[in-house]
Amino acid sequence: MANLLLLMSNSLIYRLDWLLILIYLLLVAVGIINVYSSTYNESLNSIFDFSQLIGKQLLFLMISIFLGLIILGINIKFFEHFAPISYILSIFLLGGLFVFGKTVSGATSWYDLGGISFQPSEFSKLGTAMMIAWYMGKFQSDIKRPRTLVTITIYLLIPSILIMLQPDPGSALVYSAFYFPLLREGLNFTLLIIFFSVLALFFISLSFEFIESIGIIGIIFLIIYFVLKRFIRRIKIWPLLLFLIVSIGFSFSADYIFNNLFEQRHRDRINIFIGKNVDVQGVGYNINQSKIAIGSGGLKGKGFLKGTQTKGDFVPEQQTDYIFSTVGEEWGFLGSLTVILMFCFLIIRILKRAEKQNSKFRRVFSYGVAGLIFIHFFVNIGMSLGIVPTIGIPLPFLSYGGSSLLAFSLMIFIHLNFDANRLNEW
């Protein structure tokens, strides 16, 4: 191993994206500090106590970096061969949960490996990213072609449905991240419009009574009609009317889906988000506590280990899904701003380097990694700030959770490898 590294080093060291490595190390450091603070208690003797959360997290960080270094030394051709295997492996792991999985708070999402839990849904993100990239990289693939679109959709649906069944709808939602690489590769924009229309219709239907919803939808369509009329002289009315009828039908069924197919906790979360039944002590508790914690941070924050909300354990799952509230409380506006800017930099940096790839496989993979990080960043911080409904997914590199840290680290290191070797076609 050491020999291999030595051999590589001469050229690799110069080709590595050191800026990205720096941001990565900064983010994991911020993560360790805040997980330490969130889980701090008097009984903690050493941060290397592996029976404690912080010790486990450090262990996983070391494993991540160790595996990362190995990845940097692997020939990039290997990944192309390995991609379908990793995908199939992750699907098997997801499927195996229904037999061997451990149920924690209602969701069967973990394997118990003697004290250390392992969450396959985190690794299936990597596997899926590999698979999508691999398939897109094949010379006959073209996302504009229905055949490719259908195949990709199936590849995405298999893991997301398996995860939905755990049930862990938050993690399933993450697969929408692959929308971004596909869009980059030429996915029809109409799909984007339909996607957002469906989302908007869903929320309109839930926020208002059925009759009101029809009124609102009608008004929107009239506006669209007159706007379109200005630009297109001979507009056909029939497609629009059809669209209107489909919308109303959807609006009606949204009510049905919401009331009959969703579980109460999902309904509650969405209700809170759209402002119905705001109940501070009830389901809105998490969001409210998180906002209080962040708001109380002020400009400079209360300082490391000084967060009263954090210490008092007011924000549930603070070390995982609500880690950002610790950042907000203890490091204030300046700390939060820094974290947000680091994520922005990370995502844009990956995208910028991905654009330089001449291999479609590697470009789509890096794009997928950036998309995954973006979705987690958007949903997780948005949730902590009360902008996005409560969806329990971790903040990459910061949240407590070995599987998540390891999976995202591997993605970063694979991207680093791809990036460093983008001119090498051995």
Partner: protein, 621 residues
Amino acid sequence: MIRKLFLPVITLLTALLFVSRLVSLQLINSSYKSLSDNNAVIESEIFPERGYIYDRNNKLLVSNQPVYDLMAIPENIAQFDTLLLAKIINLSKSELKDKLSAAKQFSMKLPYVIMNQISKEENAIIQEKIWKFRGFYLQKKSLREYPNPIASNILGYVSEVNRNDMRKDKYYSLGEPTGRQGIEKYYEERLRGVKGKKFFQKDRFNRIIGSYEGGIYDIPPKGAQNLILTIDLDLQQYGEKLLKNKRGGIVAIEPETGEVLSLVSAPSYNPNLLVGRSRSKNYRILASDSISKPLFDRGLQAQYAPGSPFKTLNALIALQEGVINSNTTYNCNNGHFYAKGMFMDCHCKNGTYNNLLSGIFKSCNTYFANIYRKIIDESGDGVAEGINIWRKHLLSFGLGNYLGYDLAVGKKGFIPDASYYDYWYKEGGWKSATIISNAIGQGEILTTPIQMANFTAAIANRGFYIKPHFLKSVSNGDFKKAHEKKTTTIDSIHFETVIDGMHKVVERGTARVAGIPGIKVCGKTGTVENFMKIDGVKTQLTDHSMFIAFAPKDNPKIALAVFIENGYWGSRWAAPIASLLIEKYLNGEVKRKWLENRMLNGSLLAEYEKPFSGKPFIINE
């Protein structure tokens, strides 16, 4: 191109959205900051023990007693013997169950009062068995205790603040004790001290997980002060005993200092009634007694016509205005005609000639009617100016306005002026004869017993008084006693004749019963006509018995006013009671047991029944 820029742009827009949200949460909206403090920090208040109250000789009047509240935290309650607990705390089983379910409804995690104010004795029993009841505990509180159940009208009482009080004064939180009435109210801030604060870090289950920031924000409580009152416990106690089964008031003042030695109001109540569990029930009973009005301080709030004692003031004014001198003499024939067909009675026999001295000690109505007319007619230019000059002198004795003593209740009394009579009789429509009743302390004048005691003190001081007050000093902390000396508008040379007259009242005048061997007592009796509306008809009741006095004559140590409602003539009740109090205060013991017994055992209850009997009744019998 647009496809390449899509995700970077979305990322930046997201970041912008987050940052603007952070700005609004962290930099602009401060409401989240204080919420956090409330949320994670328990503020625990530390109360200094409420100050004790002592009398002028450092005898204890008010102290504190510990009581206990039986608390329960529903979450911690295990299976227990409901019947046994109910028996111990004197509740029925169903009452206990109701309380427990109320506690559960309130909160599973927060303490709830199951039984409040358990006495020391009950506490001992519960303490012994509390180990059997997991989730229950006793919480110590402090209540007022009165070793001598007296002076409730002065001391006032303590009760828990309500929401209204909290709105008025942000210092309090619900359930804290606060003084109501009397000294407890007036000196609330000295007695309560300033509560301190201790901050604890808590977790989301409200469990305390340690002191907050090592206690650097904790505020130690500021000690409460013990008060030393001007009241003489023995005198007060004696006064209250003497007024048993009577209605009225006693105010005794040390003339030199203005210190109130005793303020008795009868009927009164036992201050222990307004302590503890039955406080509100007892208070309702006291407050609803509209006939004997135990919560009404007759010494401070009752306004009576002053009666004959007022003659001393008229004499002083006449002397000051120079309308008479001490040798001015008037003839009295069982009274006199002060106007055509208008006769004023007097008990002086036909053909009596009185000078000022004998006018006072015989309390001759004719004499004072004449000098009053001279004051009104001759001291100024016309009756209007005359009455205003007369009024000015009276105001300088503290009449007609609040005295400004340190208790929250009081009445102004009333001294009429020219505009008052102009209103009633039209300008120029009245003469000195019209308002002649003022000469003998009847008419329109109203005074409170403390005002009368105060002007008696001013006479005793030969021309000044110190604002009466109840607080002598405090045991600790800052206290500056500075009561201004108020000089009357009467020159001190005029006092001697009047004081001689008052001395003669006791020596050989209307109040010989008030004489004490070895003490030169000066006094003046009064017999005050009074009326009451019974079924809408103004009915005359038995006269009030009134006496003012000070002693010793040359170096006055005590000045007092005694008022016994419907006690008939002055020397029947008021004068002997005043005299006994003087003897008690100056000699420390009372030798005239016969008089003492007569006063202690005497009762006017039958007299007070009369107006309410519904039958015609005889007065002044």
